[in-house]
């Protein structure tokens, strides 16, 4: 019985890696986006597994729901015939693979020496009692109010940027 959480975690962790690989290796962008949908659901399950139900719900609603649909629209508007013939990777991918492998090996080696930091105020017990959404809301609007406000400006820039780069006239008179 005590093995069950580990098994769940093992499944989700390995599924996320496999799904990410599928996303970046598919030639057909529509297939990539579909695998990504599945990937987002697995990530959401991972959050659920960590007692973070609010983040899990947001993951599904925002990422799987809104952002991915947008991706699909964009992909469908592209000229797929050309896209299907293009190579998925540029010529220097072995160099990239080498660097990633080096980072992976050094991370794996350093992992032995990882010492987890002190536990904070928000124990699983407390979160289950107060509910995750409420705890998150309280922290976000008190302790993290300042970063939260900056994040709103970052989103505003995204909106302005989209209008400037896509909607504005090319040239002024």
């Amino acid at each position: 019985m005590s093995m069950l959480p580990q098994m769940f975690f093992g499944y989700f962790a390995s599924a996320i890696v496999v799904l990410s690989l599928l996303v970046i290796t598919r030639k057909n962008p529509v297939h990539s986006v579909m695998w990504m949908l599945l990937l987002f659901f697995h990530i959401a399950s991972m959050y659920l597994f960590l007692n973070a139900e609010f983040i899990a719900a947001i993951q599904v609603i925002v990422y799987a729901g809104a952002i991915l649909v947008l991706f699909l629209f964009v992909v469908l508007l592209l000229n797929l015939k050309e896209e299907l013939q293009a190579d998925r990777f540029i010529g220097t991918w072995p160099a990239g693979l080498l660097v990633s492998a080096a980072i992976f090996v050094s991370l794996a080696a350093a992992l032995q020496k990882f010492v987890p930091g002190p536990k904070g105020n928000f124990t699983i017990d407390l979160i289950q009692r107060v509910t995750h959404t409420k705890v998150l809301g309280q922290v976000l609007y008190t302790e993290y109010l300042f970063p939260f406000e900056i994040a709103s400006l970052v989103l505003l820039i995204a909106v302005i940027g989209a209008i400037v780069l896509a909607k504005k006239r090319m040239r002024s008179h």
Partner: protein, 475 residues
């Protein structure tokens, strides 16, 4: 639950900047003459600078630190903002992209830099960095009809996103090991638990160093810079070669000297090779460039290498010399770009080195100004560039890094070749064609400010250095 109003006094400059930037954004709807919007953004910068004088203190439980260090950097950002707006006004109509959003994006980008300089917490630092970077990506692609500008924005965006991922990975690892994102608490926890030699923490530090190296365009994370600098609108090239770089150094100083203060041996082993590679590649590759914007991009890479010496020194003097250098760099680099912008008119691009042949005969004043800025970039006295480098190298020697300084001096001598070649082309060649200068009062003012800055810091450097040293005192 009791509601407590946080002490907003230290954040007033940022709040003012946000409100005024939003007003500038809305004003664009009603004001038809976009030059007025440019004027409004300069007024905004002046008002924010006024609020900086009363902004000392900390806010939001140490997440936001408004100390002398951050205020000095904020003054550099505001100076950068004002000079950029001054050189943009005419240029935008020459390029026919006279849109008001340009100015509000510059304001928001500067706001992001100000948040970065004041960040006492890794989360605030990251968000400030994103605010700065996102605005700059858009500005780099502002010439929508120009493929090169599109390329610049896309390359800058992709590699910037990549750097952000590194920063977040490093931050997550640090948080996992110390249980906090507050810079001072991280330092305390590392010291208390003797984690300085922990391989995982060293790896986290390297990730953070990689992310910041992307931002300051240090080798081997510089690949985006030449293409982004060449393709972006010239005014934005000037802006992003100074602002984001200075902001990058502000956070490097804070993160490495405060949060990773106990890991000096480890991080200097990472930063010294980066600094040497940066100076070497920047200066050597700049020699073979034929496009002046590209040449200045490599020069900008090289200057990041010099400035890293002050960080490597790891002393208050070193930090002060980095701050002075960033100020010097702002004046001399924007000055040089202002001259490049003046050469752009109608169908004439004016960004090729051969366009400068015989400039001294056709436009002696512009050539004279370019001469001063090129001398300063090389580091020839009595210009500010010499004094900036002098203090940087001195602080590194005092900290015991004489051999690194020796290498820096050699590369600095190499750099004379490509800077002085511009001077040689201007003064010793015959003009091929007469080009009209697209000058304006605004760009004249920018050139005057840059010239005064370069000469003043060159002649009375002690005033600025003492100012920076006093600013660092409360670090």
């Amino acid at each position: 639950m009791q509601l407590m109003m946080p002490n907003l006094q230290p954040v007033m400059p940022e709040i003012t900047m946000t409100v005024l930037a939003l007003l500038v954004l809305v004003a664009d709807l009603v004001i038809k003459r976009k030059e007025t919007i440019g004027l409004l953004s300069i007024i905004t910068a002046a008002i924010v600078a006024y609020f900086l004088t009363t902004a000392k203190g900390t806010a939001f439980n140490g997440m936001f630190l408004s100390d002398g260090y951050s205020i000095f950097f904020k003054l550099i950002f505001l100076m950068n903002l004002i000079l950029t707006v001054l050189i943009s006004v005419k240029y935008l109509s020459v390029e026919r992209v006279n849109f008001g959003e340009y100015y509000s994006l510059i304001l928001f980008s500067t706001l992001g830099m100000m948040v970065m300089a004041s960040a006492g917490d890794l989360i605030v630092l990251y968000l400030g960095l994103e605010l700065m970077a996102l605005s700059t990506y858009i500005l780099a692609g502002f010439l929508r009809y120009d493929m090169k500008s599109n390329e610049a924005a896309l390359k800058y965006f992709l590699l910037g996103a990549f750097a952000s991922a590194f920063l977040l990975y490093g931050t997550a690892l640090v948080y996992g090991m110390t249980g906090t994102t507050d810079l001072k608490e991280i330092a305390g926890y590392i010291a208390l638990n003797g984690l300085a030699q922990n391989p995982m923490l060293i790896l986290a530090m390297i990730f953070v160093a990689v992310a910041f190296s992307f931002k300051i365009a240090a080798v081997p994370f510089h690949m985006w810079a030449p293409d982004a600098y060449e393709g972006a609108p010239t005014s934005i090239t000037a802006y992003m070669s100074v602002g984001p770089k200075a902001a990058g150094f502000a956070v490097i100083g804070r993160v490495f000297l405060v949060a990773f203060g106990g890991m000096k041996v480890e991080w200097s082993a990472v930063l010294i090779p980066i600094a040497i590679l940066t100076m070497g590649l920047g200066n050597i590759v700049a020699i073979s460039q034929t496009n002046i914007k590209r040449m200045l991009a490599y020069s900008s890479i090289a200057h990041a290498g010099y400035a890293l010496l002050g960080i490597i020194a790891g002393t208050p003097d070193g930090l002060a010399s980095v701050m002075v250098y960033m100020l010097v760099y702002a004046f001399m680099n924007i000055g040089a770009f202002a001259v490049i912008i003046m050469l752009r008119s109608g169908d004439f691009k004016g960004d090729s080195l051969s366009d400068y042949e015989g400039l001294a005969k056709t436009h002696p004043l512009a050539a004279g100004l370019m001469l001063v800025f090129m001398f300063s970039l090389t580091g020839i006295p009595p210009t500010a560039g010499f004094m900036g480098k002098f203090y940087l190298f001195m602080s590194a020697i005092q900290a015991g890094y004489t051999w690194v300084v020796l290498i820096a001096v050699i590369f600095s001598a190499i750099s004379a070749y490509f800077y002085l070649r511009v001077v040689m082309l201007m003064y010793m060649k015959e003009p091929k064609e007469t080009v009209a200068l697209s000058s304006s009062p605004a760009i004249g003012l920018a050139l005057a400010v840059a010239l005064v800055g370069v000469l003043a810091i060159g002649v009375v450097p002690s005033f600025f250095v003492n100012f920076a040293k006093a600013a660092v005192a409360g670090f």
